[in-house]
Subunit: 190 residues, 2 copies
């Protein structure tokens, strides 16, 4: 028997991604979001949503590009801090001690210490409600060599990202492989 | 030292969500996606992307609504099957043995056995590339009572969802709480 619940942002799991931009003074800023995801395979795009009051929103509208730096569990405290403080009054890179590296592909900075970086150019801006969605084409990817698998692609267990649980505001780590995509379900195929 | 990688859909973690729609014959269809996420808090919206060749795309364009049924690890094989077979030639509910329940809120079916359901009305359609993105407002939520926490909201450990790892096509389970949102990062606040 299912119970009805008032609408809310209770879908899970959601990612924890850090969005890098330059503000109007050219200062590197970084903000953590969980409202985002991959949204197209060819060409590859990913989407992020931010509120208009954020420092990141103004930067996104001005330079129309951003990076996504994916934190490993090791940098959870820094990533959470990036979601609490505002770039309007805080240099989050300086306070956290992490380094802002300028992307060679888009006009935005990324977090040098995080293992996996996506460099994106804004292609669509969608006014939804309290949040505005930015759909960005992935123009470049940079990864630490020690998180790559045998095919040269980032391995999720080596990246060691964490997910955000909206209803409890908890961050959760990943445990183990429980199935294989486009394979586990073949037991139902004739 | 970071290595440059050609653009691809390598961001992680991504969710495993099952999209419920009715096709032109009124038959319940279900399709698994990992390109999606929450995209607005107020009012609550979530986004999904599908390719135009899919049976789900035609249904979304026709009825402009959908459900998201979140599978627990227990139903991984069924969820993976929903992403392999096509509703054009397969009744995926019948083959899997799971039940399609008609939503009372939107004109779409959901998976009765899955613990957490979102009932969405399409508000924006964004043509990105190979995928088209549907931004849907969450009009209703239904959850099994045994996955609710003390506040009456779905608890991620009770829902027991799994994430998809795009580079390895693996499904991963969640392990444990490794931090608290809007709290763990306060160590950097003055």
């Amino acid at each position: 028997m299912k119970k009805s619940i008032d609408p809310g942002t209770y879908a899970c799991p959601t990612p924890t991604w850090c969005i890098g931009t330059y503000d109007e003074d050219g200062k590197a800023n970084i903000m953590t979001i969980s409202w985002g995801g991959i949204c197209c395979s060819v060409p590859p795009h990913l989407t992020i949503s931010v509120r208009k009051v954020t420092h990141t929103y103004a930067a996104l509208m001005r330079r129309k590009c951003y990076t996504v730096s994916i934190p490993s569990v090791k940098y959870l405290k820094e990533a959470d801090f990036f979601g609490i403080a505002s770039g309007k009054d805080t240099d989050k890179f300086a306070v956290s001690g992490l380094a802002a590296t300028h992307s060679k592909i888009v006009d935005a900075p990324y977090v040098e210490e995080f293992p996996l970086i996506f460099e994106c150019e804004v292609k669509h801006v969608v006014e939804i409600g309290g949040h505005v969605q930015f759909v960005g084409e992935i123009e470049g990817i940079r990864a630490d060599e020690d998180v790559l698998n045998a095919k040269g692609l980032p391995a999720i267990d080596k990246v060691n990202p964490f997910v955000y649980a909206p209803t409890s505001r908890e961050y959760w780590s990943l445990k183990e492989v429980v199935g294989q995509g486009f394979s586990s379900g073949r037991v139902f195929m004739k």
